[in-house]
Amino acid sequence: MNKILLIIQREYLTRVRKKTFIISTILFPVLYLGLIFGTGYIAATSGSNLHVAVIDSSGYFDKGIIERENMKDSSSVLTLVNMKPESLKVNFKNLGYDGYVVIPARLNWEDTAANYFTLQTSRTIGLEGAQPVQTKLNNIWSGIKNEKLGIDITKKTILERNTISLGTINVNDTTADSGVATGIGYVSGFLIYIILLLYGSQVMMGVMEEKTSRIAEVIVSSVKPFQLMLGKIIGIGLVALTQFLLWIAFVFIIYNVSAASVNSSAMGGMIGGVQKVFTSINVPLILFCFIFYLLGGFFFYSSLYAAIGSAVNEDMREAQSLSFPITMLVIISIAMMSAAMKDPSGPLAVWGSIIPFSSPIIMMARIPFGVPGTVPWWQLGASMVALIGGFIFTTWFAGKIYRTGILMYGKKPTWKEMLKWAFKKS
């Protein structure tokens, strides 16, 4: 026991003191946040403002209407021009227009079919480039149609605003909020997914370290192979936990900093959202379950990764090809997650959250929907017991493979071979 602690300490300290750990702990949330805000910012401020000339042969569009619409919507500028299409085609670029539209005479407000016109441009614009112009034209056209049909402002308002929206409430659990639950579910499931993949492969490489440095035999003459494997897994698990907690702390700091300086509306909205989160879900339970499933899933998968790491001969490609089935299991779980969240009480969700392979991700996605509202206690219990049983089994299994594989050089490992080692008498 003492020796396992020594090994855990060594594995933990070696990794936590590495520069890459500090960098990735700080960089990851920064990059992620930067990505979210950055793209939003860029999307909002960029987007070319198209200047489009309009030749109207139909007579419906007049300068006044167009000017008014230009004032309302500045994402593009339409200008009515009085030219022949042929001459405009040659000159529109020199006149300062990015493109022009010819509205043909056949346009009729009483038509019941759609109209297709063309925006002629001097350069190829992107897929959505015509969108602002199209919207503006349709706004103008809507106004014209309404006027012709005799629909005044009041009628228009009735048509547009008098709609029906549905919100959801679970009679058994009135605090549950699907929107929030889905959000939290996604985030938790995704976090677990990332940590499992990232640290699972860390465990695999950590195990390979003893083989590549050829120190396996020396260590195994001082401790039992099982102790070494367990120490490595727990040590790396603690590193994962530390990194995760640091991320949480980081995000928490950012939240508090921005809460103190609520000057931008975007921030205000986000903070309001966060407050809502805390009221509609059971935070301590979710936190507890998150830690449980994170650790449970980690131990479950990392034992398997450890077994693979001990079997391969320093070749990363061999390791990757052997670990492919395991990685697929994790990826399948995350793919199942969206389907499970559409129907959190359906059979896919229920079974997915009990079977140990997918339970860390699926159960964590379900829990924010409400315990015991959506997730009955017995399901939660069964899932936890299954996960514990699962990782005890995989750890035992991996231990058998590890003790043989760690000293074996040169033999090409396959899953069949490894199964043989697992069931060999020690």
Partner: protein, 353 residues
């Protein structure tokens, strides 16, 4: 009797006056002496009929050995003989399929006894990116030393081998010779009773080889037992007192170096003369001439005749003898002779368990 008296005091702790002598006293002394003798004569390692079979190989097939305390024991054998498997069973890495291992008189306990064993495997290795001082400390603690003890011993050894400047360097910064020195230190740091060295000199230059050799001697003098596994027979002759030769999983030789050489001697002698040798000096049934130069001859003594017969013959012939030596076979020759005949490379066998 003085020895007896001391034992009596030690064992009973009583304050009986020294000149109290009754028959009971003497009997007790005798018993104590016999007990003490047996206790201190217990071998450090006893292997009884060990077997270890793998799917394709009978790696160790009924090997029994006894190694006494303080010996420098050579474990020899060709490649694939089963030495490494045998060593791994002694260090608790493998468990034997059959047979018994006794360590220091008791059944070998792989969990606790390994703290008294130091093992330097043939595949050298240390964590490449870990700092040297830290790593030595880690390995020492894994062997059961407390942090404090480990630090003081490390200091001792680093001073002895002049390694103090290495403390914060990484293992990957060291040359091969340096890393072997380091590995040797990590092997013996916890003052094990039994030290197992598998090819300790491979890749070392003569200076470092000497350094390690001196350390082996000094460890042996301090009471440690050394098992030394190698192919380099010259080193074995020089260093070991007792050897065992294994081949194809079986033991084919076991004895002291001297005894083995005598067992395999071929009655060869080298005789040197001041006079020039003539053909008629050598025409005699006492011996067979193997090699001849002007002043020296290598002869093979015929059975039934002794050294003195030969000497007397030469003296009788009027030759002045300068030197007379027995040529004992080198371990290298014995090794090749015993192992020749078995296939050069290890064969795979079908093993039915």
């Amino acid at each position: 009797m003085l020895y007896c008296q001391r034992n009596w005091r030690l064992v009973s702790g009583s304050l009986l006056p020294i000149d109290h002598r009754s028959s009971k006293y003497y009997t007790f002394c005798l018993v104590t002496v016999i007990f003490a003798d047996n206790f201190f004569a217990m071998p450090i390692l006893e292997l009884h009929h060990l077997r270890k079979y793998f799917a394709t190989q009978k790696a160790v097939d009924d090997i029994s050995l006894t190694i006494e305390k303080g010996q420098i024991f050579g474990l020899l054998g060709p490649n694939g003989a089963g030495k490494t498997t045998l060593i791994r069973m002694i260090t608790g890495i493998f468990y034997p399929d059959a047979g018994e291992i006794k360590f220091d008189g008791k059944t070998f306990d792989p969990i606790n006894d390994i703290e008294y064993i130091g093992y330097m495997p043939e595949e050298r290795g240390l964590y490449k990116k870990m700092k040297i001082g830290e790593q030595t400390l880690y390995l020492a603690q894994l062997k059961g030393l407390s942090r404090h003890e480990a630090m003081s011993k490390i200091k001792e050894w680093f001073d002895k081998f002049d390694m103090n400047s290495w403390w914060n360097k990484k293992v990957e910064d060291l040359s091969k010779g340096m890393s072997q020195k380091l590995q040797f230190v990590t092997t013996v740091l916890h003052e094990p009773k039994l030290v197992i060295l598998d090819e300790p000199f491979s890749g070392l230059d003569p200076v470092n080889t000497n350094l390690i050799k001196d350390e082996i001697y000094s460890l042996s003098q301090k009471g440690a037992t050394i098992i030394f596994s190698t192919h380099r027979m010259e080193q074995v002759e020089e260093i070991c007192d007792h050897i065992a030769l294994v081949n194809k999983g079986k033991k084919i030789l076991d004895g002291t170096v001297k005894q083995v050489k005598h067992d395999y001697k071929e009655n060869l002698f080298r005789v040197g003369f001041s006079n020039k040798l003539m053909a008629e000096h050598l025409a005699i049934h006492l011996f067979e001439v193997i090699k001849k130069t002007d002043h020296e001859v290598v002869i093979k003594l015929d059975p039934g005749f002794s050294n003195n017969d030969v000497l007397q013959y030469f003296i009788h012939k009027g030759l002045a003898i300068e030197s007379f030596n027995e040529i004992l076979p080198s371990l290298n020759e014995i090794f090749i002779r015993l192992v020749e005949g078995s296939p050069v490379t290890r064969q795979f066998q079908q093993v039915t368990a």
